[in-house]
């Protein structure tokens, strides 16, 4: 039995941040969902890479750190 760990998803083919946010945080207003996803994933959205580029191998957290 694995202990709880911070939940994450990986991007689907050609998925945008908008589409990923809608998928990962359904029921949440889209703008708020995008903001949350960005705030949980500074390693993607602050690192040097072309704006908005999600990589297929990215770990995208869908919740804040557990501890």
């Amino acid at each position: 039995m694995l202990s709880a760990h911070r939940r994450f998803v990986t991007p689907q083919t050609n998925e945008t941040i908008e589409a990923l946010a809608a998928r990962a945080l359904p029921g949440e207003p889209l703008d708020a969902a995008i903001d949350r996803i960005k705030s949980y994933n500074m390693h993607i959205f602050v690192m040097r890479r072309p704006a908005g580029l999600l990589l297929g191998s990215d770990v995208v957290f869908v919740e804040p750190p557990l501890q």
Binding site: S3, G56, S57
Partner: protein, 554 residues
């Protein structure tokens, strides 16, 4: 008559059993017998007062290029390392089309800090494209065993070309990658490496990072076809949550395809003191459910050196410094003389004039380091000069042709009382040396000697036998290396004879033996008397021999 008998040593078998006084006989490159062996031999090695152990295995290296001009992988061999695993972190030198060579050289230059000139035709005879061709090219000159990984970025680049750094693969492309991986495994690769963190010389993510999980899953299915080959990964090691997510992904692949996986590095850091223990706790949970996810941890503290002659890992968070140091020397000097450029660099170093970044560094002494500065902290020198630390670094370098080296010592992973118990954890794989890479940042040699000096003799975290086991039989078992890592009849005669009381690494020093007059840091060994590779003496009493008995192995 035996070819060689090593007499009267303390034989430590690699499996952890208490050492025994015995002779070791070698015939046709294999261990023929162990015990009291009075018979004659063509050559006798007296090991009285010495340990006789299996040759050490280094599982994380980037010797891919060095093996083209140095089949002894100096100085790894003299430390008792008889087998190395290159091709880590998604990068190998095959399969690689001629048209893509410069692209991959750029990746090695950026990620592994290797000079591009060393890859030019003058030093590296680019006779191959396929994996077999690379193995055939290096094989004749090998004095050390090589168990190569094939890099995911190379597989992707071969199949997808420029698109490998632009998009996800199609189903047909994934199938083509599977076919190519299968071919590489048949031609000598022992597994696949991938990277989730690296960028190339243009700051673009390397090809492997564009792979969706389904692509990696499909490649791991190939690894699982033939008894389970290794997947090696470099994760986002600077972030514990992401690393644990990668542990979970690797565990999923391991269980699904019956393969071993390993990731490196795991560092201990006083800045994030619970990070390594959290990662190891997750690893233990995943092992308990049947996954094999081996975390690699190095023995040595993090020491990084740099000068303004080359870009360095140390400056990775200062991209404008890196770009400036990539300029040709005359342009670089002009840039460092230019008031506007200097101001930008100094500003980038931080609001404190770079004191937090550079202040604790010590002038270690390049060829032209002023004697009055050697051994002193940059912050003290800067105050004496009436400058900020970044400005002092620039000016001391300019005044001396840039040939002044600065050392950041014990930059993490340096607390023996914390590291020792982690290294001794049976789920921790000792590795991550990076041998053959990061040439001008630190020496990647001597981690094995340091294991004995620091963690056997000083801290007592390991017995002699447990330390030997950790870097021989354990490594061979984790990687599935056949007939290596043990002193047993029938096994390959990869053997190191050493003094348990003195084996160690010596001081780090610069040498200028990289093709194109390039510099690298190395450490020589002490306490290692004789090293045999496949039954031939490759190093003896302080000198390399002409033996070329190394092999591509797996």
């Amino acid at each position: 008559m035996y070819d060689i008998v090593i007499r009267n040593g303390l034989v430590v078998d690699g499996e952890g059993a208490a050492g025994i006084r015995a002779d070791v006989a070698i015939q046709n490159g294999r261990i023929a017998a162990i015990g009291n062996l009075p018979g004659e031999a063509r050559q006798t090695i007296d090991a009285s007062g010495r340990v006789v152990a299996p040759g050490f295995i280094d599982p994380h290296t980037h010797f891919d290029a060095q093996l083209l001009w140095d089949g002894q992988a100096r100085p790894a061999l003299e430390h008792g390392v008889t087998s190395v695993i290159p091709g880590n972190c998604s990068l190998s030198l095959a399969p690689l089309r001629a048209a893509d060579r410069q692209k991959v050289v750029g990746m090695f230059q950026q990620i592994e800090e290797m000079p591009a000139v060393a890859f030019t035709e003058k030093y590296a005879k680019w006779t191959w494209e396929g994996f077999a061709g690379y193995c055939e090219t290096i094989a004749p000159d090998l004095a050390i065993n090589v168990a190569p990984l094939v890099g995911h970025s190379l597989i992707r680049l071969w199949v997808m070309g420029e698109d490998s750094q632009q998009r996800a693969a199609t189903a047909d492309e994934i199938t083509a990658m599977q076919v190519l991986l299968r071919q590489c495994l048949n031609e000598g690769a022992i597994g696949l490496s991938t990277s989730f963190v690296d960028v190339d010389d243009k700051a673009r993510p390397v090809p492997s990072r564009f792979a969706e999980f389904a692509e990696l899953d499909a490649l791991c299915a190939v690894l699982g076809e033939d008894g389970g080959r290794m997947l090696q990964v470099v994760p986002e090691f600077y972030d514990v949550d992401i690393t644990i997510a990668r542990v979970d992904q690797l565990a999923e692949l391991s269980v699904r395809h019956g393969i071993p996986t390993t990731f490196s590095p795991v560092f201990d850091s006083t800045a994030t003191p619970t990070a390594a223990t959290r990662i190891l706790a997750r690893v233990a949970e995943q092992f308990a459910r049947g996954a094999r996810v081996w975390p690699q941890m190095q023995t040595r503290p993090i020491d990084i050196s740099f000068s303004l002659l080359n870009p360095s890992l140390f400056l990775a968070r200062l991209p404008r410094w890196v770009r400036t140091l990539r300029l040709p020397l005359d342009e670089r000097m002009a840039a460092l003389d230019d008031a506007e450029t200097r101001a930008v660099l100094i500003r980038d170093a931080g609001p404190d004039g770079g004191e937090a970044t550079f202040g604790r560094l010590v002038v270690r002494g390049g060829d032209r380091a002023p004697a009055a500065y050697v051994g002193r902290r940059v912050v003290d020198i800067a105050r004496e000069r009436g400058q900020g630390c970044a400005e002092a670094i620039i000016d001391i370098s300019r005044e001396n042709g840039l040939d002044v080296a600065f050392l950041a010592a014990n930059g993490g992973h340096h607390l023996t009382d914390r590291i020792g118990p982690m290294l001794a954890n049976p789920l921790v794989h000792i590795g991550a040396s990076d041998g053959g890479a990061h040439l001008s940042s630190f020496s990647t040699y001597g981690d094995t000697g340091y294991l004995f000096s620091e963690f056997v003799r000083k801290s007592g975290d390991f017995t002699l036998e447990a330390a030997v086991k950790k870097i021989t039989a354990d490594t061979a078992d984790i990687w599935g290396l056949k007939d290596r890592g043990r002193l047993k009849p029938g096994y390959a005669a990869d053997i190191v004879v050493f003094d348990a009381d003195t084996i160690d690494r010596l001081e780090e020093r610069p040498v200028h033996d990289v093709p194109g007059d390039g510099m690298r840091y190395i450490r020589s060994s002490t306490g290692v008397d004789v090293v045999l590779v496949n039954g031939e003496v490759a190093w003896a009493h302080g000198a390399y021999t002409d033996a070329r008995s190394g092999a591509i192995c797996g």
